[in-house]
Each structure stands twice: as C-alpha cells, then as structure tokens.
Symmetry: C2
Subunit: 688 residues, 2 copies
C-alpha cells in the first residue's frame, strides 16, 4: 500500500528536504533535560511505556487498523471500517489474553471512536456500579466477554442537557410486573447514542420513572434492543443511524436513534443498586438524588483527562514541523520557522498547557476515586465538590485543547490544511468533547452554584470545613483589596504573586456574581455568562494549584526534571494572564507598567524554553502510528512524506490499492467530464 | 431522493416539533424594521435579488447540483462530483447565455470550490490585466469561452509566502527564443494549485526569471500543461493531485502539484503588460516592482469580501435554530434558548460583525477599483495603501468569520456537530481563507510596515498628504495622552468616544512598535506579534469608519433602516472592546468603573436588538438551497428535518438512492462483522 521512495528519483533531490532530518536532529540535541526521564514520568514508569509498545506492535501491523486509506472513504466505508475494527479488536483481545487495561490501551492506539468504545468505557463501569449483585450476575459476564454490547441512551432529539425534561418514560405495569417504555413522540427519540446505530444489543436507557401516574424523574434501565439471534430490532423499537457528522469525523461510531412505542421490559431491568421499585409499585429512594448522574460524571472526568494528551499531540506535530520548515532568509540562509517569536510564542504555550492540564485532571481523577470509595459505603459527602470540579475542568480543558489544536494547525501555513497533517481529523474528532456530556457553557453553572455555596459558607461559622479546592474563598476580603505587588519582570515568577493574582480574580468574580444574584436580584438565567467567567477563573486556580504540587513532587522524585517543569509552569501562568488580560485588568489591581513587565517576562521565559521545544514534544512519546502525520513524524522528513502521501491518493494519482496510475493512461474523468466540457459545441444561448 | 414526510407517521407527533414553525413565525413577527428593505439594501436592490433567484431556480433543480448525497461521498466521488459540476455549469452558461456576472452568481450558489473556480475568478482577470493586446488575442477568447482552463501556480511544496525564494526558474534560452522552466528539485514543485490536479489545460506560473545567469525575481508565464487533444500532460511536466484536505472539505477542487524538468515555452508566453524580455535577452522593468502582485491582491480583496457573508450565513442558521429550540423551563414551559442571555450574547454579535465587515470590505473594494483605474494609466500611487489595507482586512475579517462560524456551531449543543447542520462543511471550506494568499499572521507585517511609514510621515513636514485610512496617526500625541471620558453607560454610544478609544489603541500600538524597532533596536522578525496586534487595532479603526459612513448613508437613503443599523454598529463596537479588553485597558486609559459601564451598555444594547434577531438574519436572504441546513431552514422545522435527514442516510437506514431499508432485512454488516464478533468461540489467550 505504501509508495516506494524509489517513485521519487525521476525528481531531482532537494537541499531543503535533506535538511529536514538534520534540522530535527539539531533541534533535538538542544534539549537541556532528559527526554527519556520526562517520558517515563508522564507514563508512570518505563515499564508502562514498554508495555504500550508491545500492544502498539500488534495493532499497527494489523491491516484492519491501517490508516493509509482513512481519508478516502465514503460514509458507508467509514461505518464498515468501524465495525471491522470493532470485531478485530475483540479478536485480538481473545488471542492475546488482554485484560481490561490492555484493551483500553489498544483502543487508545486505534485512535478512532469505535461503535464499541462506549460499551468499554461506560457500560461495563455502570453495570459494575449501578447494579445489584443479582443484576450483575445476569449481565456483567456477558458484557465483559463481549457477548452482549451496550450503549448509553440519555440524549433525545429535542433534549440534551436537562434530564428532568426527558420525554421518554418507563411506566410500571403492576399487572405484568413490567415497565413499558415510550418515547411518547418523535422528538422523544433517543438520539446521538454512540453504538446504537448498528452494533448494540442492549442499551442502558435514561427514562422518567412513572409509578401510579407519578413522575419520579430520570432513572436507568437495562433494555435489550436487538435479537441475539438475528440482530434485528425487537418489535416496538425503531432504530437507525442519525447520519453523518460534521468535519467528516467519527462516522465510524454509528451514533444512532431509537424510538420506543409500548416496549416492555421486566421490572428487574431497572438498575437497582441505589433506587428500586418493589413488586407492588413502591419506590425506594437512593441515598442522594444525584447518584444516578454517575455515568455523566465518569465521562466528564475521562473527557477532561484526555484534553492534555490531545493538546500534547497537536503541539508535537506543530513543533516538529516548525523545526524543519525553513522560510525567510536571515543573513542568506532560510531559518527554521520555530526560531521566529511569532511561531514559538504561539506553539510553546500548548506544551505548557498540556502539562498543566495533565496535572489538574490527574488531581480530579484522584478526587473522583475518593468519591467512589465513599459511595461504596454510602458516603456522598464529596459528591458536590467532585461534580463542580468535573464540570469546571471538563469545560475549561476540552475548550482549551480544541481551540489549541486548531490554532496549532493554522500556525503551520498551507500544509496544515492537508488531511495528511493529521489535524483535520484530530479536530473533528476531538471537538465533540465541547458539547457532549454537558455543553461547555451550560455546565459552568454547576461550578458557579457550588462556589456561591462555598462563599456563603465562608461568610458563616462553618469557615473551617470549606472544600479544599475552593478554600481560597475564605480570604475573599483580603484578596479583593490587595493590589499586585510586582516591581520587576521576574516578580511575576513568584509563586505568591501568581497565587494572589489568580485567586483574586476568581474571588472577585464570585463576589460579583453573588451581588448580582442576591442584591441586584438578577435572575439566574441572565447570569450564564458570569457563571462561565467565574468557572474559567476557578479552573485556572485549580490548574495552578495542581501544577504547583506536581512541580514540588518532581523536585523530590527526579530533580533533573525540575527546572524545565518549573519553567513550563511559569509559562502557563504568564500566557494565561496575557490571554485573559481584560479579566485581570478590569478591577484596576494591576498597573500598566506591571503589564509591560508581564510581557517582558513572558518573552524571557519563552526564549529560555525554546531550546527544549523538540525535546519536550518527544517526551510526550506519541508513536508515529498514532500521530499519522506527514508533518509531524519523528524523522522530520516532512516534504518527502507530503510527496509520498500525494502519490498514493486515488483516483487521480493512484488506484485504491496504492498503485500509481500510468502517465499514459487516459486521465481520470476525461471522457465523462473534461472532454465534453472543452469540446462542446458553440453556444446558442438565447441572449447571444 | 428525498424522504416523504409520510415515513414519519408511524411515530407519534410532537408538540415540540409543532411549536417549531410557530416559534419561528413569532420570532419573525417581532422585527422592528422592514426585512425586505434591508435585504434590498444588502443586495443592491430588489432587481438583483430577483435576478439571483432566477439563477437559483436553474441551479437548484439540476440533479448535478443536488446536495442530498454530499456527505456520503468517497474522495473519488468528491472529485468526480467537482468535475461533473464544472462541466454542467459551463453547459448551463451556454444554454442560458449567462454573462460573466451571472456565471459568478451561479458559482456562488453552487457553493463549493470547484476545479474551475480559480479560472473564473483569477485567470481571466489576470489575462485581462497582465497581458499585452497581442497576448490577449492568443488566449483571452478561449479562456472566456472555456476552451482552455487555467490555474494559478505560485505556491511550492516548501515555499508559500516568500515569492523571492521560489525554487522554480524560467531561464531565457536566446538560441531558441524560449524560456526553460525548471522546478530544480522536488521541493520546488508547484503545490496546492486549485484546478491543476485534473482539469487545467494551462497555468499562469510564477517563476524566477533568469537572464544571462542573473535573477530578476518572480514573474508570470502562461504555460500550456496538458494536450488539448488528449488532456495528457506534456513531456517534461509531472502533474498530479496533492491528496485530500482537512475536515473532508474542498476535495472537489483537485488541488494539484506540478514538477517541471526542462520544459520549454516561447518567449512570448511571459505576461508582458508591465515587464518583458526582448528577443536579445534584455529585461524591461515594470513601473512598480509589485505590479506583479496584482493576482494576490485581487484574491485578498475577494477573500475579505466573502467574510461578512460567511459569518452572516453561520449566524442565520444559529439564530433560526435557537429561536425554535426550547430548553429549560421558566414557569413551566420551556423557553426558546435564544431568549437566554448566554445564547443571544454569543450570537447577535455575529450579525453585527457581518454588517460591519461588509461595510469595511466594500470600502476596500472601492479603493481597489481606484487603484486599478490608476494602474491603467501607470499611476501606482494607491498601491501601498491598497496593499496594506487588503492585508489588514483579509487577515482580520477571515479570522473573525472562521472563528465565528465555529463558535456559532458550538452554541447549538449537540446537533451543531451533525453534518446536516451545515457547519462542518462550511467551516472546513471557509477556514482555508486564513492561510491562503498570505498567512493571516504573516501578512499583518505589511500593514504594520505601512503604518510605520505613515507615522514617520506624520512626524515630518508631509503631514497633510497622509493616506486617508491612517490619517488618525497625525494626532498621535493627543490620542495617546487623552483618557476615556465615559461617565454613564450610554456615553459608550457616543461616536467621538468610540473613535477616540479605537484610534488611541491603534496609535499607541504603532508608537510602541516604532519605539521597539528604532529606539530599542529590536529585530523586525522579533516583532511579528506586535505587528499582528497593531494590524488588528488598525483594522478595527477601518471597520468602524466604514460602518459609520454606511449608517450615515442609510440615514439618507432609507431612514427606516437607520435605528437598527445604528444599533448594530454600536453592538459591534461594544463587543469588540469587550473581546479585546486587555488591549484597551493595559495603558490605564480606561478606568474600572468605565468597564462596568461598558458591560452594562452591552447588555442594554443586546436586549434592545433581541426582537430583531430573526428578522436580521432573514434579511441576509440566504436561500434554503444554499444554507442546506437541517437546523437553519427558513420554515424552522428543525426536528422534522433531522429525522428526514437521518432516514435517508446510507448504508444503515437507506440505500444510496434514498430508499429506506426494510426493517426485516439483515442489518448492515451483520454477517461480516457483527455475528463473528458476538458469536466467536470462547477465548484461548495465553494468559487465561
């Protein structure tokens, strides 16, 4: 399938292309730290990287997972590829005896959103955490062994974010001990459900529970939807695919719809770990009303954790290509564009953001673990903080990463716009994270509500027991009256200054929101934008705090990495203030000369990090197979890759099997389109 | 091909969907101005709209231009569709006797970047303006009559922006009175050239002219590349397609590459209106070194002019859908989300930006006309200002529009991510504008250089003859020492305040750049970011000034439109300051309480415009055929559209001809992928 480099010799060799490999090696050699040790730190040890590489070798050599034709496919072929990869991945699991973690690793390497992805990352966890032991014995083994495949049906055609307004109902029919599922109207159809379109045999359905005419709100039900014998949908269910997605991305997922019309399931199919209905139709409440939101919480944590890696990947391609792309002469010879401030100023902050987001979302994952440990013993005390933090960081991090991917692409000139650069698919795939599992704008209301409660608590006698992540609100008065103390550019690197500036802004916005709500009596819905601003500010506090701990940890664990990590932490802070400058300046706490010092220090910090640029992205250790980028391959040979990539593209240069078309062949489309155009009869239009 | 609405009756009707049409009608009825008259104003009169509609009826009923399968196509099918549409469009031209303007109109309606687009918008104009009469007689009639099709070959594999570094040479061979074209190495191959991949018979080539071993820099040559008999490339030229583009967009264009190896053309094929080479190899210079940049200038003006319409289109879909999408209850009934401040605050500014960009780029087009009128008599005096203004507005407007399209999509929740929303293709197609014809970041250096010259001139005796667009720099000292005078929120609406705030920022940034360059002796390449900031600030001055004139013109021409246009102008200003707040605040000229007043006034202005929201987008008058959006159709029936769109998607719901698959049929992919997955033998992996 690949084009032999020998296809090129008819073309004269290029000095520029020869320089590519030399340039990236030279840029690599400048790193001031051990790339190997940073990579080990990021992956949790050398062993894990080696383990990842073993799975990589299995996946990348398998033709089913070849990426060489991914941009040539029709919608039908995309869907077929997703099904084929699903089948093959489970076969490889059987063959190699992969455990759950290894299967997750393989899924990450395949790097597409498959129709089985949600079964693996959500359905199995929900069966483990939301079912009674008896229910687990009915479904869990089959689910773990891929004898049944589930999907998660929450969103409806006309309702996304508001669970209380779902149209779908599950009405208890006492006579038959069943629930009857109804979509009630076509806008109540489940919609967007990953895997539902074709592969799923079951769904975990969110529906409003109706008992004796009374609405008990959304609950989860395990619903068989397709026959295990024929895979045809059961009577009473209309299922299909919702059609193609934007940017030509993620069509392999087969997001589907389902319309239920009087479909019955046994009463025991309601997931009953926390709430259940007795045979005589009596409702037994859960320990906390929002325990059923666990699925969304899990997915939000997972989305937030992906953000750092997504941005790291975008930065890898951009920095490598910029290290070999020479443009514009300086004293005769053209210079790699990475040397230009307008390039490294745009790209290096992505590396810093990636590290800071990884630190921040690791801390979120730790909080989530503590929550789950508590829930096992019905301790729900961490639920509000975990909920607010996950909304805050999911919103902030997925937006930062999506915007960063696209900004990195645009920093590469024209070639960033080629499919082979890897960015188009990466963005198209990734940006779904900004609207799924709670729209990034809307969910910041949850964070803001939580912070307002903490603020109230801080003003009361309960001051001591504030949640750790928002404890700074205890000092709201000192914070909002202290001015920035920077006197020299390097003062901006002082940890106390950074903490003061970030917490002051968040505290001020919290107070302003409270004032608007409580004193000015503005309605909550009129304050969404203010919620968003507050949540962003709080998110920056969370990220800074987590990164501070990480830098301290590194100082202990591997002090040779300390200087570069410290600098990344500083770059992140300086860049964050610069890009949100209005927010920091509007209260007059930072003076004009201090802004100039911020810019000066940013410039100094960027220059100091520049020699580490390629080393830093190498340390993210993305395999070339995953990057799948003509511009970002580790060997730096961007221009040769672009040529090879062009030559194997059908139908003009090659056929679908990658065989070059002969130059003597009739050009593609000539007889059908081009000859009739150029050789058409003289025109006889009415106007002539 | 379309699904009958009767496919739906098996589903129960929906109150929400019934509300859709009612909701949009209600929102429409709130408009405070005449939508019809604003539309006429925008299109330059009722007659032009009627004329557009006549061409629309021809195009939209032609099956070749049907959009119903556009998201289902493979790369090969996309390329074939581009060729088929090219052929058909020229046939329709013959059939209906379309003139150049009518053909342009049809091309706009087809709404894809076809392989013939550049021939129409660039090659014909270049032949008209850069050729001698003798050369015109050789090529122009064939080009106008589509007997030959050209493309424009400037960019090379390893060189985009810097014409002086092109590798391709045209060396004069005196013995045979020919130029020999050489790419010189594979990185010198022309690359990205629209239409070159398959359809073009000729190219206008940019190559460095070499005479007697001396390099005279880039010039244009008319180069026949494919046989008019067989369409095969001539010996000495290797041509192909560069492969698929990001986001699955614009693959119909067949962007191509060409490698030249000792290919000869007659001396008379050098475009010789301004510069030429005599038979004995003597070079005759043009009146101005940059007259040959006319092609890029023309494209930049054209790209800038598209920006307002692109954003208008994105706003149309978003506002219409938000007017019918009900979410979250307020006193029982769910409310159309457009009523929520966080939605209209994000969407209404796009309408304002669209109008302001249309005003600003119309003014640019006027300047460009004056330049061309001058050039005809060798008057090159407007060239620097036209060049700087086109770089400034191309960069600012195309970035504003691209970011706005994506931001509008994200404001729509999940359905924005469906292909049928129209946004994915719109963004993928549009965002190319940010990197073509001069990368948006890099070209702002041209604007900055121009402004520095004007600043120097302003400090000298030549003060009186400053170019109109930068005349504010004459008052640089007053501007940079005056503080903002706002005392009440409504003071922000005062024209003088607005002008002062915008020009002060631009003037200050110009002075800072001059200081960094001349006093601090920083190298130019270290100041790219500062150039970018200055160019954005200058662009806002240009846009504000053009919009002020437009509002005044409307007061004269059609005073019923005055209030709404004035308010849009105000919204644009308030929103621009808010989104670039750091830039305005960092010099301390605006006080914290003035920022609060700005936000208060923004809120007031937005609320005042809200009733006009749907009317304003209706006035952009995009035909449903062009929008091609499930969410944005003028009838408001978003949820029914989503259903129909899903039902006709292959291969799961329908076949390629739009016929619904029977529910009794074996599900797609069952035998090949799903059964083997679910029914595989028990696993025997080594680890078990």
């Amino acid at each position: 399938m690949s084009i032999d480099r020998k296809a090129l010799p008819q073309l004269r060799p290029s000095v520029t292309a020869d320089n590519n490999a030399r340039d990236i090696a030279a840029a690599r050699a400048q790193a001031t730290f051990s790339v190997e040790r940073l990579a080990n730190y990021l992956y949790g040890g050398k062993q894990r990287r080696l383990h990842r590489d073993r799975i990589l070798r299995i996946v990348e050599k398998d033709p089913v997972f070849s990426k060489s034709t991914r941009y040539y496919r029709s919608l039908e072929e995309q869907i077929a590829a997703g099904l084929a990869q699903s089948r093959r991945l489970v076969e490889l699991r059987d063959q190699h005896g992969w455990n759950e973690a290894e299967f997750s690793q393989a899924l990450t390497l395949v790097d597409d959103f498959l129709p089985i992805t949600l079964h693996h990352i959500l359905i199995k966890p929900l069966l483990r955490t939301q079912c009674t032991p008896k229910q687990q014995s009915r479904w869990l083994k089959d689910a773990e062994d891929w004898r049944i495949i589930g999907c998660y049906a929450q969103t409806e055609l006309a309702h996304g974010s508001d669970l209380s307004k779902l149209e779908t109902t599950a009405t208890y029919i006492r006579e038959t001990d069943e629930f009857e599922i109804n979509s009630n109207s076509f806008t109540g159809s489940k919609w967007w459900i990953g895997g539902l379109g074709e592969i799923a045999t079951h769904t975990i359905l969110q529906a409003r529970l109706i008992l004796g005419g009374k609405d008990y709100g959304a609950h989860m039900f395990m619903v068989p939807i397709r026959s295990l014998d024929t895979h045809k949908p059961f009577p009473g269910i209309t299922i299909g695919n919702i059609g193609p997605k934007a940017f030509g991305a993620t069509n392999s997922t087969n997001n589907g719809f389902a319309y239920f019309d009087g479909y019955r399931i046994p009463r025991d199919n309601m997931l009953a770990k926390f709430a259940h209905v007795s045979k005589d139709g009596v409702y037994v409440s859960p320990p906390h009303a929002k325990v059923g939101y666990a699925g969304m919480l899990l997915l939000r944590v997972s989305l937030a954790r992906d953000a750092g890696w997504a941005l790291a990947r975008a930065a890898t391609i951009a920095i490598r290509y910029s290290a070999v792309r020479r443009q514009f002469a300086s004293a005769g010879e053209e210079v790699p564009v990475l040397q230009y401030p307008n390039v490294y100023r745009r790209l290096l902050p992505f590396v810093a953001q990636a590290h800071v987001m990884l630190a921040g979302t690791d801390a979120l994952a730790e909080l989530f673990s503590q929550l789950n440990a508590g829930l096992a013993t019905n301790d729900v005390s961490l639920l509000p903080e975990a909920h607010a933090t996950s909304c805050c960081l999911k919103s902030l991090c997925t937006k930062t990463a999506a915007d960063g991917i696209e900004e990195a692409r645009r920093a590469l000139g024209g070639h960033g716009y080629s499919a082979g650069s890897g960015y188009g698919a990466m963005y198209g795939h990734y940006v779904a994270s900004n609207t799924v599992e709670g729209d990034n704008f809307l969910i910041t209301q949850q964070t803001a509500r939580f912070l307002l409660k903490v603020l109230q608590q801080a003003n009361s006698a309960e001051k001591r027991s504030l949640p750790a992540s928002a404890a700074y609100l205890a000092h709201v008065k000192t914070l909002t009256t202290t001015k920035c103390t920077v006197e020299r550019p390097e003062d901006w690197l002082c940890m106390n200054v950074q903490e003061q500036v970030l917490t002051r802004r968040a505290a001020r916005l919290a107070v302003e929101l409270a004032t608007a709500l409580l004193q000015e009596r503005k309605p909550w819905q009129a304050l969404n934008t203010e919620c968003w601003r507050l949540s962003v500010a709080h998110g920056h506090v969370l990220l800074a705090s987590a990164m501070r701990h990480r830098v301290e940890e590194i100082m202990q664990a591997d002090s040779v990495l300390y200087p570069v990590m410290k600098r990344l932490s500083e770059l992140w802070f300086l860049h964050t203030v610069e890009t949100h400058l209005g927010d920091f300046l509007e209260d007059g706490s930072i003076a004009p000369h201090q802004v100039q010092m911020l810019r000066a220090q940013l410039s100094t910090t960027l220059s100091a990090l520049l020699p580490d640029a390629v080393g830093l992205v190498d340390a993210f250790d993305f395999p070339d197979y995953v990057l799948d980028s003509t511009l970002g391959r580790s060997d730096g040979r961007a221009y040769e890759n672009l040529w090879e990539n062009a030559l194997r593209a059908p139908p003009i240069n090659s056929d679908r099997n990658g065989n070059l078309r002969s130059l003597d062949a009739t050009p593609f489309g000539y007889e059908e389109y081009i000859r009739p155009l150029l050789k058409r009869p003289a025109r006889t239009g009415a106007k002539l």
